[in-house]
């Protein structure tokens, strides 16, 4: 998993609430056998409309999604996180996230940041006024900054354990691999008659 320390990029203002994971990626896109390439399914229904914010050229290459409340509710599909990441997003800012989506995202290295709705509104205004506005998500100091002279500069909360895991770029597998010695030690004591498939 890629480390997340301080990320600066341009943002997409998604003025919609209750964006469930079926909207993030519809079921028909789940049949793929890879973990990459889900970007074409991202917001597929909406992206069919030329006016949809993600389609606007001024937001090309954006890596921070600023979304309305209750982002990522509904189905537990991990594909929703993959689709956002495949598209190029590193962080999603919202005043509230669906629980399962948030769990999946933080496991997979997509930083979901909870900010007051009022901050979200200010970020929307800044980005809509100037789509080139850089938005910085600083996990080291747990702050979000944006705009001229840091017009927005606010703290956010994230538990120490998750922060540490993301800073180190450790997914569950990475964490378990830190205990490779313990695993190897366990293997040395397994009964010799246990079956192998070879």
């Amino acid at each position: 998993m890629e480390k997340f320390t301080v990320h600066t990029g341009t943002a997409v203002p998604l003025r919609a609430s209750n964006v469930d994971t079926d909207q993030i990626i519809p079921a028909v896109y789940l049949k793929r056998v890879s973990r990459t390439g889900f970007e074409d399914g991202l917001f597929a229904a909406w992206r069919a409309e030329p006016d949809f914010v993600l389609n606007r050229p001024e937001h090309a290459g954006a890596s921070v999604l600023v979304a309305g409340p209750d982002f990522g509710t509904g189905s537990s599909r991990e594909h929703a996180v993959w689709a956002l990441q495949n598209y190029g997003f590193r962080a999603v800012l919202s005043s509230r996230f669906g629980d399962i989506f948030r769990g999946n995202s933080l496991k997979g290295g997509l930083l979901t940041v909870v900010l007051p709705q009022e901050t979200i509104e200010r970020l929307w205004a800044l980005v809509e006024a100037d789509p080139a506005t850089p938005v910085t998500v600083d996990l080291e100091r747990r702050r979000v900054r944006a705009g001229e002279g840091d017009a927005v500069d606010v703290p956010f909360e994230l538990d120490d354990y998750t922060r540490w895991r993301l800073l180190e770029g450790l997914d569950d597998i990475g964490l378990t691999l830190r205990h490779t010695d313990a695993i190897a030690e366990f293997e040395r004591h397994r009964s010799p008659w246990l079956p192998t498939t070879v």
Partner: protein, 465 residues
């Protein structure tokens, strides 16, 4: 301290325990199939990680496979891609695979036990909820998600939070014509589809001890339909007799050492379960489902229940919705329900003993004109053995179709499906809306009831013939 069987197996697999963290458990056997593994292998590839223990991993093709013309390429492109992806992944990562047409191919939960890979006291996982089947050997076996599949591939371990324990004790002896399937359907109807949530169920008691391994697998298989994480049965001489001589079972001195250990795998006297349920086997009779979840079942002697008579409002609403989908009127005797299709197969009832039981009922009789009967062995080995015993001839002579091994009509993912509105009596494990094909209606039954129903054309037990 006195421990339950599940706790003993758990404790024997702790690689690492730390305050405030889940236990890290070692996994002895990882079963893989084509549907839930592609992203896991892809994850390994992206991270540049190998499979830690390919020698504890085995793959098979089951969910997507057609049960006819298996040597031709799969017609459905999505199914074909999933199967081809598994083949590539198995070869890239050095995992043993039994592809379609291979002598050891079959449903993942049928081939593990059959090869002797599933043994008492092991931890067994698979990206499939019916992994609980393997608990019949006294293994701790549970289904996992795709991320966890990747975790096991990479580390051969899983961080897990401890389960609660539940005892389901079936006292007494079953009456003739009553099977393991009837026991488990009755258990689920009693405790509900969420009754086992968060628990590992241990099945105990005289009636369970008397069951064959095949029958025990049927019971453990459907633990998941009771909401449980896993089901287990303590190993005994029946277990050892089944295992002895299987390709991967221990041999010689190893066998003796293994059996000595396996005999310690029982719940200690005085060990406490978090929950206990008791059933009297003598009171059970052939059981069938009338609704759209496995808990909506009743004895074959009964009638379709009246939702209005149900006290619990949630249960009442669910029953009303189920009856509308199933197109059944309250009060209809279950024996009057006619079916279009009979399916004998799946990881619940697709083993040799199940086919023998169905064949015994069908022998010398004919499938009703209005009924299509599909008999699908759970594995190629089961198919081979059935053919050696002439069971295929019995089924064919009666007018049933005899197929290649796979999940088949258990789920609508391969060509074997119900058409909208069609009704089946099925030996599988899920009667959810659309499970056997969009708009299809499923009645879960035992192999005996399935066979009798095929002959009669209406839900029936062999005693009705």
């Amino acid at each position: 301290m006195a421990r339950t069987l599940a706790e003993k197996v758990w404790d024997a697999h702790i690689v690492r325990r730390a305050e405030g963290e889940p236990d890290l458990l070692y996994i002895d056997l990882h079963l893989v199939h084509e549907v839930t593994s592609p992203q896991a292998f892809e994850g390994l590839r992206l991270a540049g990680r190998p499979v830690r223990r390919p020698d504890l991993t085995i793959a098979t093709e089951d969910h997507n496979v057609p049960t006819l013309d298996i040597l031709r390429p799969i017609a459905d492109p999505v199914s074909r891609t999933q199967v081809e992806t598994l083949r590539k992944n198995a070869s890239d990562f050095g995992v043993r695979l039994h592809p379609m047409g291979d002598a050891e191919q079959g449903i993942v939960h049928v081939i593990g036990p059959q090869l002797g890979l599933t043994q008492p006291g092991m931890t067994v996982v698979c990206g499939d909820s019916h992994t609980s089947t393997h608990g019949a050997f006294g293994a701790l076996a549970f289904g996992i998600g795709t991320s966890q599949v990747e975790h096991v591939l990479a580390t051969q371990t899983l961080p897990m939070d401890r389960f609660k324990t539940m005892a389901v004790t079936v006292e007494g002896a079953l009456r003739p014509g009553v099977t393991a399937k009837d026991i488990i359907l009755a258990v689920i109807a009693k405790i509900g589809t969420a009754g086992g949530q968060g628990h590992v169920i241990e099945y105990r008691g005289e009636a369970i001890r008397a069951l064959s391994m095949e029958a025990r697998m049927t019971i453990c298989n459907m633990s998941i339909e009771a909401g449980a994480r896993a089901g287990m049965i303590a190993p005994d001489d029946t277990t050892f007799a089944y295992l002895e001589g299987r390709p991967h079972a221990p041999k010689g001195a190893d066998w003796d050492a293994a059996v000595a250990y396996w005999r310690t795998l029982r719940t200690d006297d005085g060990a406490a379960f978090d929950r206990e349920v008791v059933l009297d086997a003598a009171e059970l009779s052939p059981f069938v489902t009338w609704g759209t979840n496995p808990g909506q079942g009743a004895p074959l002697d009964a009638a379709v229940p009246d939702p209005e008579a149900m006290a619990d409002p949630t249960e009442r609403a669910a029953a009303a919705k189920a009856l509308a989908y199933m197109d059944l009127a309250p009060g209809t005797p279950l024996r009057e329900i006619s079916v279009d299709t009979v399916f004998v197969g799946s990881c619940t009832n697709g083993r040799i003993e199940d086919l023998r039981a169905a064949a015994e009922v069908i022998r010398g009789r004919a499938v009703a004109d209005s009924v299509r009967m599909l008999v699908v062995p759970g594995s190629m080995r089961v198919k081979e053995q059935a053919q050696a015993e002439g069971l295929d001839v019995v089924f064919r002579a009666a007018g049933a179709e005899w197929r290649e091994a796979g999940c088949s009509m258990c789920l609508g993912m391969n060509p074997d499906q119900l058409a909208p509105g069609e009704r089946s009596a099925s030996t599988s494990n899920r009667n959810f809306e659309g499970r056997q094909g969009k708009g299809g209606r499923t009645h879960l039954v035992s192999p005996l009831v399935a066979a009798a129903t095929a002959v009669k054309g209406t839900l029936a037990s062999p005693a009705d013939l």
